[in-house]
């Protein structure tokens, strides 16, 4: 096979020597992404269902947390492990309260995130995403995500170091890379929405 020489190519290039831009077909989703009856409205329904379920779970956990203060917990054991085997620990009231409290806080954090996501998707369903409220909601999601992730990391570290030393692997900073990336993406998105809201306002006040 003959390779094209520079002389051959010269004949095919435009006179100014700049190659013609290759045009790829533009991808357009075959469904509507914003507005009533769109993918956004479908996702909003899914978020509504998830929000209700998470509310129920949080309520059950909080009831269990209050009940754990009063119920007798003697003669119970709990196995702490991150693989087969692990270590049997007597279930003390402080341990039970710590476990239930940490779980309630974790689920509650995701409840807050879902609540803000639902409100954002409500505006997407209305076909008006660049509202100033969405900037605050996205920042709240970022902060909650950061808090929940940091809380889980600290709680796991406490369990691994204090409660059952040697059973669980020690916490590494590498595990925080993905959550930090996610949190930063959410904050960048919040700034994008802030710019969108500013442009929307400019557009509204252009007569």
């Amino acid at each position: 096979m003959r390779l094209p020489t520079l002389d051959n190519l010269k004949g095919r290039l435009p006179a100014n020597g700049v190659a013609a831009r290759v045009r790829f077909p533009r991808f357009r989703a075959p469904w509507r992404t914003l507005g009533p009856g769109s993918v956004a409205s479908l996702l909003k329904v899914a978020l509504d269902v998830a929000y209700l379920l998470l509310m129920l779970i949080t309520a059950v956990l909080l009831i269990a947390f209050v009940a754990a203060i009063f119920i007798p917990v003697a003669n119970y054991n709990v196995t702490v492990t991150d693989h087969d085997g692990g270590l049997q620990q007597p279930l003390t009231r402080p341990l039970l309260l710590f476990g239930l409290g940490a779980l309630s806080a974790w689920v509650g954090g995701f409840l807050l995130i879902l609540r803000n996501l639902r409100l954002i998707f409500r505006t997407l369903t209305a076909g008006d995403p660049f509202r100033p409220e969405n900037v605050r909601r996205l920042r709240a999601i970022g902060l909650t995500l950061a808090t929940v992730t940091a809380g889980v990391w600290v709680a796991q570290g406490m369990v691994a170091a204090r409660l059952v030393p040697g059973v669980m692997d020690p916490q590494g900073f590498g595990e925080l890379l993905t959550p930090i990336f996610s949190v930063l993406v959410v904050f960048v998105l919040a700034e994008v929405f802030r710019e969108g809201a500013r442009l929307r306002r400019e557009s509204e006040l252009t007569i």
Partner: protein, 80 residues
Amino acid sequence: MAIRIQLDRILLERRMSLTELADRVGVTLANLSILKTGKARAIRFSTLDALCRELNCQPGDLLVHEPGPQDLTADDDGDD
């Protein structure tokens, strides 16, 4: 904003109401009111053209620059 719209004065001189101007120009009364009260951020050339045509005036008759301290108030964009 250092730029002011003198719509009031010109409407008074032409004995024309804001509603009538809105009808003639094809801009909603609400938008024309924003323009009149100085809340507008920008004006399109097409709107300016229609205003000048209907009011029989020049853009310089409508717009006045009043030097003063620059407006540094933050935008209402979610930072409140």
